[in-house]
C-alpha cells in the first residue's frame, strides 16, 4: 500500500524528496558494503575507506546543492560523490582500476572527481580540500552566480593548518564557503578527544569569526535543516560557516583495519542502535508518510544497480600502456 503524499508539518521535504534522500543513502550503503565484501575477497586493489554509517550527513547536506555548487571531499569520499550525483558505475569501475572509470583508472578510490557535477575530488591529503573550496567559492563570488562551495574534513583533518588558514581566508573574504567537520570520533585510530583540544567545534569556529553549528549527524533531518540554513545564508552573501556533524563510521579507517582501538561491543552497538538509515526509515514509516513496502522496493532497485555496477566494472577493459603517458604533458 502506498502512503499518502503529504508531509506538511511533519518533515521539511516532500515525499519525493524523502524518497530521493532514502535512495541516495541506500545507494551509498550498498556501494560501500559491496566494496567491503569484495575487498575482503581480494578483488579490489589499493586503499579503500568506507563512508558506511555516515550517509545521513553527506546526503542531508547535498540535498541542498545543484551541479554549479562545488564540494571538495576527503579520502572517505564515495558517499560524497554519490550524494553529489557522480555516476556509481563510473566510480565502481574507477575503484577496480578500469579505463571506463570516472578518472580512466588513474585516480582510484581516493581521487574520484567529476567537475561537471561540482565534485572537485576526493583527496588523499587531509585538509587539502579546504583552500580549494575557498577558490571555488571565490570564483562563485567573483562571477556572482549564487553558487556555494563545501569542504568536508574529518575530525582528524580539522587540526590541519591548511584547514584553519582556510577558515580565516573564507571569513576575511566573506566567501560562500561552508566547512563541514564530519566528526566520527576517530582520526585513523586516534580518538577525537585525544587530538582536538576544544570540546566544541562551535568554539573553534568562533575563534575565526565564523558561525558554527553542531548537529547529530546520524539524524538526516537535523543535518538537512542545519545545512539548509547555512547554505541559504552563504548563497545570499552572508558568508562562510562551520557545520559539525557528529557521526559514526561502521567500518575501520581503511578496509583491513582490525579496529582494536574500539571499546568492546562498540561496533555491535553501532549496528543495532546507531544506524542512520534505520533511524530515517523508522521516522518516515512511523509518520505514515512512506510505507515499508516503498522503501523495500527502493532497496531492491539499489541492490540490483550496485550488482550491475560491479559486474560492469569487472567486465570493463583495463587501461593500456598508451594510457600511462596521457593526460599530462611529458617532456622527457
Amino acid at each position: 500500500m502506498t502512503a499518502p503524499n503529504s508531509t506538511a508539518g511533519i518533515f521539511p521535504l516532500d515525499k519525493k524528496g524523502l524518497l530521493k534522500a532514502y535512495r541516495t543513502m541506500r545507494t551509498i550503503r550498498e556501494f560501500e558494503e559491496r566494496l567491503h565484501a569484495d575487498f575482503a575477497k581480494g578483488d579490489i586493489p589499493g586503499f579503500v575507506h568506507l563512508y558506511a554509517g555516515e550517509e545521513a550527513a553527506g546526503t542531508g547536506i547535498m540535498m541542498h546543492l545543484e551541479d554549479k555548487d562545488r564540494i571538495a571531499s576527503t579520502h572517505r569520499g564515495h558517499g560524497h560523490c554519490i550524494a553529489k550525483g557522480v555516476d556509481p558505475n563510473g566510480m565502481m569501475a574507477e575503484i577496480y582500476g578500469k579505463v571506463t572509470g570516472s578518472c580512466r583508472g588513474k585516480g582510484g578510490s581516493m581521487h574520484i572527481a567529476d567537475l561537471s557535477k561540482g565534485m572537485m575530488g576526493a583527496n588523499g591529503i587531509l585538509g587539502a580540500g579546504a583552500p580549494l573550496v575557498c577558490g571555488a567559492a571565490l570564483a562563485a563570488k567573483y562571477r556572482g552566480d549564487g553558487a556555494v562551495a563545501i569542504c568536508f574534513v574529518g575530525d582528524g583533518a580539522s587540526n590541519q593548518g591548511t584547514f584553519l588558514e582556510s577558515l580565516n581566508l573564507a571569513a576575511v573574504w566573506n566567501l560562500p564557503a561552508i566547512f563541514v567537520v564530519e566528526n566520527n570520533g576517530y582520526a585513523e585510530s586516534t580518538s577525537r578527544d585525544y587530538a582536538v583540544a576544544v570540546d566544541s567545534y562551535v568554539d573553534r569556529a568562533a575563534g575565526f569569526g565564523l558561525p558554527g553549528v553542531t548537529v547529530d549527524g546520524l539524524d538526516f533531518f537535523a543535518v538537512y535543516e542545519a545545512a539548509g540554513e547555512i547554505i541559504k545564508r552563504a548563497r545570499e552573501g552572508g558568508g562562510p560557516a562551520l557545520l559539525e556533524c557528529k557521526m559514526i563510521r561502521m567500518y575501520g579507517h581503511f578496509e583491513g583495519d582490525q579496529q582494536t582501538y574500539r571499546a568492546k561491543g562498540e561496533l555491535e552497538d553501532i549496528r543495532a542502535n546507531k544506524d542512520c538509515i534505520k533511524m530515517f526509515s523508522q521516522r518516515v514509516t512511523e509518520a505514515g508518510v512512506i510505507s515499508r513496502g516503498e522503501l523495500d522496493a527502493i532497496d531492491r532497485e539499489v541492490v540490483a544497480e550496485i550488482q550491475q555496477a560491479v559486474a560492469s566494472a569487472k567486465a570493463a577493459p583495463l587501461p593500456t600502456a598508451a594510457d600511462l603517458t596521457t593526460d599530462v604533458y611529458v617532456s622527457y
Binding site: A128, E165, V328
Partner: protein, 335 residues
C-alpha cells in the same frame, strides 16, 4: 612598438594586458596591492618589490590582497583555476613554497592526470628566486629543480624583460599550472620590449650567442653571467654558444643536443645547488644522447652545496661568477 623597459615593468605590462583581455584572469597575493584595510595610501606597495604597482586602479576587484596564509591562498588560486578562473598567485619568495607545497605538487600538478584528463588547472604561481640581494638563506634560493621534478608542473625562468613578458602571457594562457620564477636581481634590467601583447611558446630555448668551440647551457640570471664569460673568452679566441633554456619544464632538448653535437664541449651553469639540479639533469641527458660527440667531460658550474649565506662577501663567493664559468669552459677544452 618596442621600447626599453625593465623586467619589473614587463611583468606588470603582461598582467595588465592579460587582465584586460580575459575577465577570468585575477591576481592574488600578499601585499600585491598593499595597504588593504589601513588608513593610509591605497595601492601602497604594489607587491613587495613594486611589480604589481598601479594595476589595482586599472583593474578594480581583480587584484586581491591575501592574509599571510600561503597554504590557503595558493590553494584558493588552484581551486579557482579548477573552476574556470585563470588566477595568477604571487608567492612573493619561492622559498615560501615550504608552507604551501602540498597545494602545488599534490593538488595542482596532479589534477589533470589523477582525474583522467577531466580537469584543467590554469594557475600561474609567480615568485622571486635567486641570490645576490643580501636576503640570506630563506629568501634567496633557486629552487627550480624541486618543481621540475614534479610531473604536471611547468617551470619558467626568464633572463630578461622581453622573455618575461612573452613567457608570462603564455603562462596565463596555458592550461597547466605554471611556476613562474622571477630573478629578483633582474627586475631592474632593461631590454627592448614590444608594447603590444605577445606570447613566447614554452619549450623553445633561445640561443643568445652562437659559437663553435663550447656550449654553455643555462637560464635566469646565469645567462647574463655566461654571456660575460663568453665575451671574455672570445677575446682569447674561444667562441662559446650560450643557450638560454627559458623554460625548464618543458625543456628544449633538441636545441641543447644539436649544440652539444656541434661543439663537443658542454658546460651546464645553474644557480641551484648542485645535487639533482638543472645542471645535473642537462649533464645526464647530454651524456646519454651525445656521448660520441663529446670531446671533453661535461662541466657543472653551480654554487656549493650550502644554504645561501648572508654576508655579502660570502654570498658573492656563493653565486657562480663569469670567471668560474670561463674556467669551466677552459677545463672542458683542455681534455
Amino acid at each position: 612598438m618596442a621600447r626599453k623597459i625593465s623586467m619589473r615593468q614587463a611583468i606588470n605590462e603582461a598582467l595588465d594586458q592579460e587582465m584586460a583581455r580575459d575577465p577570468n584572469v585575477i591576481v592574488m597575493g600578499e601585499d600585491i596591492v598593499g595597504g588593504a584595510g589601513g588608513e593610509g595610501e591605497e595601492d601602497a606597495w604594489g607587491g613587495v618589490l613594486g611589480v604589481t604597482k598601479g594595476l589595482h586602479a586599472k583593474h578594480k576587484g581583480k587584484l586581491l590582497d591575501t592574509p599571510l596564509s600561503e597554504s590557503a591562498y595558493i590553494g584558493a588560486a588552484i581551486g579557482a583555476a579548477a573552476c574556470g578562473m585563470r588566477p595568477v598567485a604571487e608567492l612573493m619568495f619561492l622559498d615560501f613554497m615550504g608552507v604551501c607545497f602540498d597545494q602545488i605538487f599534490n593538488q595542482a600538478a596532479k589534477f589533470k592526470y589523477m582525474f583522467g584528463g577531466k580537469a584543467e588547472t590554469p594557475v600561474v604561481i609567480r615568485a622571486m628566486v635567486g641570490a645576490g640581494f643580501r636576503a640570506a638563506a630563506q629568501h634567496s634560493q633557486m629552487l627550480t629543480p624541486l618543481f621540475v621534478h614534479i610531473p604536471g608542473l611547468k617551470v619558467v625562468c626568464p633572463s630578461n624583460a622581453y622573455d618575461a613578458k612573452g613567457l608570462l602571457i603564455q603562462s596565463i594562457r596555458d592550461n597547466d599550472p605554471v611556476i613562474f620564477c622571477e630573478h629578483k636581481n633582474l627586475y631592474g634590467l632593461e631590454t627592448e620590449v614590444p608594447a603590444e601583447s605577445y606570447a613566447i611558446p614554452f619549450g623553445e630555448a633561445n640561443v643568445v650567442r652562437e659559437g663553435k668551440h663550447a656550449t654553455i647551457v643555462t637560464y635566469g640570471m646565469m645567462v647574463n653571467r655566461s654571456m660575460e664569460a663568453a665575451a671574455a673568452l672570445a677575446k682569447q679566441g674561444v667562441e662559446c654558444e650560450v643557450i638560454d633554456l627559458r623554460t625548464l619544464s618543458p625543456i628544449d632538448w633538441d636545441t641543447v643536443i644539436d649544440s652539444a653535437e656541434k661543439t663537443g664541449h658542454v658546460i651546464c651553469v645553474d644557480e641551484a645547488n648542485p645535487r639533482c639540479s638543472i645542471a645535473a639533469d642537462v649533464s645526464a641527458m647530454v651524456s646519454q644522447e651525445c656521448f660520441k660527440a663529446l670531446k671533453g667531460s661535461i662541466q657543472m658550474v653551480t654554487p656549493p652545496h650550502t644554504p645561501v649565506p648572508f654576508s655579502p662577501v660570502l654570498e658573492d663567493l656563493y653565486i657562480p661568477s663569469a670567471d668560474s664559468i670561463a674556467k669551466a669552459v677552459k677545463k672542458s677544452l683542455a681534455h
